[in-house]
């Protein structure tokens, strides 16, 4: 196992590698190692390099534990706006998420619907590519169009083009308070339409999810200064009540509200349950139609106002076939090896897009040292 202590050692490890390596942040998300691949851990590259609250910026080495980043930010009343979800329960893993792993996975939680994904808040990065070349891109300023945006290309790349060694992120003030409204009894279609109305309102809803269990619960989150949250909660409640179905709206405040979204973002509902887990990115308005077509016995959950559907199905079920009539894509998040072998984790891309992707991989990792990443 390789555990470089700094970027130079990491570069050397990649340069001198003669066979694919299995690069891991904290090992919470990465796919299982392929037979014989040597592990390379980024955990040695840790530490927050800079936090400037007045400029809303944070620079951290890639191996810094997510918890450490969160704590540094919280001490100054700030947070990562994209709400990285904790999927350890769902994936049945332990270990420590690292900030580099979060960025490489573009891991974004419920707030993504309003505040953007990890990639939206990425300001810059340092990376070592498959040839061991150190590349810097972007910076630590909020606006930067100098040269191509390689940093955002790396967000969500799962480390296939290189290993991140440092990331620089835009952070945001932690809101004074939050409230979640929970409306019971809506059908999937009514829930999607209620969420759409709330998201189309000027009240800056930062979470819109629907869980069909227990007769259906639709969640909407409002954050900000206390007076503003009180005002906006009232108006969102009115939007929810506008629906013809009988009303039953619960207000969930502060810490209890945070727990609701931690569970939704982490898909706690599927943790420890058997089957393949899929992540379906769809046009919100198609979500209700889509869940109606899921095979018998499938469980599901909607986030991002319906734009993200999590589904739990019997092993081997091909949800891409179910999704075919709709715009969107289906990704396997946790699945039996036989499902992965048959269907692949990711939706196959159009040939021209696949060719561009392959071309980039050939440029940044010509020897395939990172071929097993992701």
């Amino acid at each position: 196992m390789l555990r470089p202590a700094d970027e130079a050692e990491l570069a050397e490890a990649l340069r001198s590698a003669s066979a694919p390596l299995h690069v891991r942040g904290g090992g919470t998300r990465a796919s299982p190692a392929r037979d014989g691949a040597e592990a390379l851990l980024t955990a040695g590259l840790g530490g927050v390099v800079l936090h400037e609250p007045g400029a809303m910026t944070l620079v951290a080495r890639a191996g810094t534990p997510l918890d450490e980043v969160t704590a540094v930010l919280a001490a100054e009343g700030q947070r990562l706006p994209f709400e990285p979800p904790d999927l350890r329960g769902l994936l049945g893993r332990d270990g420590v998420s690292t900030i580099g792993g979060v960025v490489a996975a573009n891991a974004s939680g419920p707030a993504r619907v309003r505040l953007g994904a990890a990639r939206d808040h990425l300001l810059g990065m340092r990376l070592v590519d498959g040839e061991g070349r150190v590349i810097r891109n972007g910076g630590r300023v909020m606006k930067n169009v100098t040269g191509y945006d390689l940093a955002r290309l790396m967000a969500g790349s799962q480390g296939r083009l290189g290993v991140l060694t440092e990331v620089s992120l835009r952070v945001m003030p932690r809101p004074e308070t939050e409230v979640t409204l929970c409306r019971r009894g809506l059908s999937p279609a009514a829930a999607v339409s209620a969420m759409a109305r709330a998201l189309a309102s000027p009240f800056e809803v930062t979470g819109a999810a629907h869980d069909p269990r227990d007769g259906g619960r639709t969640f909407l989150r409002i954050e900000g200064f206390a007076a503003s949250v009180a005002y906006r909660t009232g108006l969102i409640e009115a939007i929810l009540r506008g629906d013809p179905a009988p009303s039953d709206i619960e207000r969930i405040e502060a810490a209890a509200s945070s727990r609701v979204w931690a569970d939704l973002g982490g898909v706690a509902a599927f943790a420890g349950r058997e089957g393949d887990v899929w992540r379906l990115s769809v046009v919100p308005g198609d979500a209700a139609g889509l869940v109606a077509r899921l095979p018998d016995g499938a469980c599901w959950l909607m986030d991002w106002g319906g734009g993200l559907v999590w589904a739990l199905c019997a092993e081997g079920t091909d949800l891409r076939a179910v999704l075919r009539p709709y715009t969107g894509h289906a990704t396997l998040v946790r699945a039996a090896l036989s499902t992965i072998a048959a269907l692949g984790m990711e939706e196959p891309r159009a040939p021209a897009v696949a060719a561009l992707t392959a071309g980039l991989r050939a440029k940044f990792d010509p020897r395939g040292i990172l071929a097993g990443a992701g």
């Binding site: 007045g54 810097r136 300023v141 290309l153 003030p173 189309a200």
Partner: protein, 477 residues
């Protein structure tokens, strides 16, 4: 500024090429008359001009693909163009290029307010997107000052920003997908009306690639519900330093204004003389705009007022009605016009960490004095995106070069302060040869490898972004 020598083999084949283009897209879509071509010889960086070989104005993605395919087969360079408002010479033609204008592709293709996106053609102007959705209560957030003229395709190519990006982000944060034609004529769709497509995020690297990776013909854009209301305040200070500190404190306090604009004394004076907005006598002023319901606005302004009070402002002026709000914005909005009245100017747009504001402003002032030129500053302070305006006299020989040298020195200062060469205007030809100030040879090489994949023969907008020396081998290969 150096441009590569045009290729004589292409120049000598002009008649034949025009003929073939006409056969592809029709006579009405090809301009080859030297007088008419003139309209395309430059963008808003007017110091540099060069008429292209000819101009093509296709109306469909298929026509764009046909033109690119032909140019690819014939190894003719292509320069894409939206509205030609680039301030960095991004749309500057070469004499041997086909200038591909998207202006006729300006339709709104789809408006979906339920799912909060629109799909438009790349030649549509930025403001027209907001106009198309405002009746339904929505807007398109990135709002460059040029929004009446600039096109969405140009915005995507430059990753343009605007006054409100402190809260809403820039183009890349509001772009969901594009239809794009590669140099060889292949049409690709990247992203779409759904979030976070798996696989490599190619859309992310296309946005801001300055027309070098492909020609965007359609874009899917996220639209946002308009805030209930918005209101600006004007805060005047006795020094740049205090104004800069106040900006940091506002951000730290957790109030997230939609805009924080900064003007220094030379700029305030010019705007006063030009627009008589009634700005106070001061060294620096901030315009801070917040959004929400009237009560929420009052609450945020109370917080801002108490933060500002700690910095002993010369004046704190809140707008009580729409008229007063308009007066507060009047001076800021006329800043560029006001400076233009005084003299010709170069507009820089380096970005710096907000904490470095006052040090960098002091540094700029020293550099300007040494150069014997006047510099006024007006910029988006919340995100550190500076806009030093260097005044010079274009009719006086050597002044432009002097102004450019000062500009380069100011940008070096921005980079040394932890910032970058350009926050929103792009590298184009203007800052091409300064890239090595910010990037190592390896950093630049990595970016050029991306172009190698999308455009292996380096035919799309070839002499931009990268220092000519660094890209030479690839361009002549």
């Amino acid at each position: 500024m150096e441009m590569p020598r045009p290729d004589d083999r292409i120049l000598s084949r002009k008649v034949d090429l025009v003929d073939r283009l006409v056969r592809l897209v029709g006579r009405g879509a090809v301009i080859d008359d030297p007088a008419a071509i003139r309209a395309y010889e430059c963008d808003a960086l007017t110091a540099y001009r060069c008429p292209p070989l000819c101009v093509v104005l296709p109306e469909t993605t298929e026509a764009v693909a046909a033109v690119l395919h032909l140019c690819h087969e014939e190894r003719v360079p292509v320069v894409p163009r939206g509205s030609g408002t680039s301030l960095s010479g991004g749309a500057l033609p070469t004499a041997d290029c086909v200038l591909l204008g998207l202006a006729r592709m300006n339709r709104v293709l789809e408006i979906d307010t339920v799912n909060r996106f629109v799909r438009v053609e790349a030649g549509l102007t930025n403001l027209a997107v907001t106009r198309a959705v405002e009746e339904a209560g929505f807007f398109y957030a990135p709002d460059p000052s040029s929004q009446l003229a600039c096109a969405i395709g140009g915005n995507v190519a430059m990753n343009s920003g605007g006054a409100h990006c402190l809260k809403y982000g820039v183009t890349t944060n509001n772009l969901m997908g594009v239809r794009m034609v590669l140099m060889d004529g292949t049409v690709v769709d990247l992203g779409g009306p759904v979030f976070d497509a798996g696989g490599l995020d190619l859309l992310a690297v296309v946005c801001g690639s300055e027309g070098q990776l492909g020609v965007v013909t359609e874009a899917t854009l996220r639209i946002l519900p308009r805030a209930e209301d918005a209101r600006p305040v004007l805060i005047a200070f006795s020094s740049n330093e205090v104004a800069g500190a106040c900006v940091s404190d506002i951000i730290r306090a957790g109030v997230l204004p939609v805009a924080i604009e900064f003007m220094d004394r030379p700029c305030i004076a010019a705007c006063e003389a030009f627009a008589q907005a009634g700005y106070p006598e001061c060294e620096a002023l901030l315009i801070v705009e917040v959004e929400g319901s009237p009560a929420e606005i009052d609450d945020q302004l109370t917080r801002i007022r108490s933060i500002a009070a700690r910095h002993d402002p010369v004046e704190f002026r809140a707008a009580r009605d729409a008229d007063e709000a308009a007066r507060i914005w009047l001076g800021r909005k006329s800043a560029f016009g006001a400076m233009g009245q005084i003299n010709d100017y170069l507009c820089l747009d380096g970005t710096i960490p907000v904490s470095e504001l006052s040090a960098v402003l002091a540094g700029i002032s020293t550099l300007a004095k040494d150069a014997g030129l006047q510099v006024a500053n007006v910029f988006h302070a919340g995100d550190g995106n500076m806009h030093p305006l260097i005044l010079y006299d274009a009719n006086s020989p050597g002044e432009l070069e002097k102004a450019e040298r000062l500009g380069a020195d100011i940008l070096r200062l921005c980079v040394a302060a932890g910032g970058c060469l350009t926050g929103e205007h792009g590298v184009g030809v203007e800052k091409r040869d300064l890239m090595e100030v910010q990037f190592s040879a390896e950093d630049i090489e990595a970016q050029m490898r991306v172009k190698d994949v999308f455009d292996p023969h380096w035919l799309l907008n070839p002499a931009k972004v990268f220092p000519l020396g660094a890209s030479r081998a690839r361009r002549i290969a």
